[in-house]
């Protein structure tokens, strides 16, 4: 009885397979083109489901964009041309790897600016501590010496 159920389940998974495989039918002339395709769709954001790239997303728009990328590669367009095409329509937000330009300076350099600020604050704190330790008047130093000498004698 159990075995029959398990066999049925296994058969069901086998039948279901072609459904997932159908979507992956992507044909290119050269392996290089295929590589470029997968690299590109991996770094493009799906705008409908914003935390996925268009490679992972099942949204309608992601499927359309994958097809467009595929056609453009087969037509011999460069990566740059394809990305420009998408940025012109959807903005920089489609790129998971944003370009370096004035609008993205904060994004690229912000963390380093914060790091520099943090280091500066740290240096100030350290210097401040050293100052407090060292600042002894001459009187104090004489007293310390006397105390130490007395300590040795006893």
């Amino acid at each position: 009885m159990h075995w029959r159920a398990i066999t049925l389940l296994l058969l069901a998974t086998i039948w279901a397979m072609p459904a997932t495989a159908a979507e992956k039918m992507v044909q290119f002339d050269t392996p290089g083109q295929e590589q470029r395709y997968y690299r590109l769709i991996d770094q493009l954001r799906c705008l409908v489901c914003q935390n996925q790239n268009i490679a992972d997303s099942n949204a309608d728009l992601a499927r359309d964009l994958r097809r467009i990328v595929q056609n453009k590669i087969r037509r011999g367009e460069s990566d740059r041309q394809i990305l420009d095409y998408l940025v012109a329509r959807y903005g920089d937000f489609v790129l998971y790897n944003p370009r370096l330009k004035p609008a993205t300076w904060l994004l690229w350099f912000g963390p380093f600016v914060l790091l520099i600020i943090a280091v500066l604050i740290l240096l100030r704190i350290i210097r401040h501590r050293q100052d407090t330790v060292v600042s002894l008047s001459n009187d104090d130093e004489r007293r310390i010496e006397e105390l130490l000498k007395r300590d040795h004698r006893s």
Binding site: L47, D60, L61, I68, A88, R89, Y90, G91, D92
Partner: protein, 175 residues
């Protein structure tokens, strides 16, 4: 007193940045097409399929171009707003019927009213991609020269029409 000033300032700054971030809906992206002409198209009309409509047919008056589909629930929600707006006969409203079936779209307009001067058909969503459409409904405000001046993402409401769209259209018509 002084030693608490800096941490408090840093804290206030972080709160301000996070509050600003929370107040912005990440689904509403500004379009790179604002300030540029509505991308060219040439497609059959929905109710008169024998006629083609192109971007040139939209020139001459400020107006709205509304992206919609019969399968889109939020479009149903905004539809009465568009119908009421078109009854004022002040500005033209065009439709882009996005990834829809002709019969479904027609049935929808028959049932809910037709606010559109003309409807562009885009069954495969290719015009939509040229326009940077990523979620229906979306509404473009174009000026007399066909330049996109504003894009509203999501359903139009009476408040949005009153506070944003109408003042902008009045301004564009006077330009």
């Amino acid at each position: 007193m002084n030693r608490y000033l800096l941490p408090v300032m840093v804290f206030v700054l972080i709160v301000a940045v996070l509050a600003w971030g929370l107040a912005h809906d990440p689904r509403k992206l500004s379009s790179p097409l604002i300030g540029k002409p509505l991308p060219a198209f040439d497609a059959p009309r929905l109710l008169r399929p024998e006629q083609q409509i192109t971007h040139k047919d939209l020139l001459g008056r400020a107006g709205l171009v509304n992206v919609w589909a019969s399968w889109c629930a939020a479009c149903r929600q905004e539809h009465p707003v568009l119908v009421a707006f078109s009854r004022q006969h002040r500005f033209p409203v065009y439709g882009l019927n996005y990834k829809d079936r002709r019969e479904d779209a027609r049935r929808w307009l028959d049932a809910l009213g037709n606010p559109y001067r003309a409807v562009i058909t885009d069954p495969r969503g290719m015009i939509g991609i040229d326009w940077g459409v990523y979620g229906v409904p979306e509404t473009f405000v174009i000026d007399k020269r066909g330049i996109i001046r504003h894009k509203h993402i999501g359903p139009l409401t009476d408040k949005v029409m009153r506070d944003t769209i109408l003042p902008l259209l009045d301004k564009l018509e006077a330009e």
